[in-house]
């Protein structure tokens, strides 16, 4: 059972480049999340989705875009990368509000130079 899969695991970008972080879950979960974790800090919510076709902003959405065309996939797009976006990005999924457990991917470490 793969759970939540993120790709790539590591990436170096130049300032101004764009890229997409991929996230796929095979648990048929409705809720999916993108968080970023800066060194020595907690997780900040970027975007979340409550189902295919529905997304909403979290605490720190600026500089990012998401889409949710299927239940399984929730890609995060970085447009015009900036050094402030250097971080570790975690994708997570949740079956439902009453079932509780949030499953995390392994993380994607992004460096913008």
């Amino acid at each position: 059972n793969a759970g939540v899969t993120q790709t790539p695991k590591f990436r170096i970008l130049k300032i101004g480049q764009s890229m997409t972080l991929q996230c796929t879950q095979d648990m048929n979960h409705n809720y999916m999340y993108w968080y970023r974790q800066d060194p020595g800090m907690g997780l900040k919510l970027i975007y979340y989705s409550v189902g295919a076709g529905i997304t909403d902003k979290g605490e720190v959405p600026n500089g990012y875009n998401v889409s949710r065309s299927t239940t399984e996939d929730f890609p995060l797009r970085l447009e015009l990368a900036a050094p402030s976006q250097t971080s570790v990005y975690f994708c997570a999924s949740l079956a439902g509000q009453r079932t509780g457990e949030l499953f995390f991917g392994e993380g994607s470490r992004l460096t913008v130079l």
């Binding site: 968080y35 800090m41 997780l43 979340y48 457990e101 949030l102």
Partner: protein
């Protein structure tokens, strides 16, 4: 807006000692989570607390929830070196989930 505060942010303990990490949150919530994170790794789920008065224990860790006080605690009993990690609490209101800043725990011999 849902805000989560943890304290302490840093905790250095000796093996065999007990200590408590506190997690306060700003509004009513549906669920409270505790996670462990080792350096360079993802987050490992420890506990999910769903109702007022809930208490869960796993080994040397025990978590409790007081929804009236908007407070959860993670109690560490007789700490051992293997418990050294960063511990996060997270609070959920419907589908909105926010994390505390984390408590970096170091257990020394």
């Amino acid at each position: 807006e849902l805000k989560v505060e943890q304290n302490p942010l840093f905790l250095s303990m000796q093996e065999g000692k007990n200590y408590t990490i506190y997690c306060n949150y700003s509004t009513t919530s549906d669920r409270l989570y505790w996670y462990r994170q080792d350096p360079g790794k993802s987050l490992e789920s420890l506990f999910v607390l769903l109702s007022n008065g809930a208490v869960k224990q796993e080994g040397r860790l025990m978590a409790s929830l007081d929804t009236k006080a908007r407070l959860s605690t993670l109690h560490i009993t007789a700490a051992v070196h293997d418990l050294s990690a960063t511990y996060f609490c997270a609070v959920a209101k419907t589908y909105d989930m926010r994390f505390g800043a984390g408590t970096r725990l170091t257990v020394k011999p």
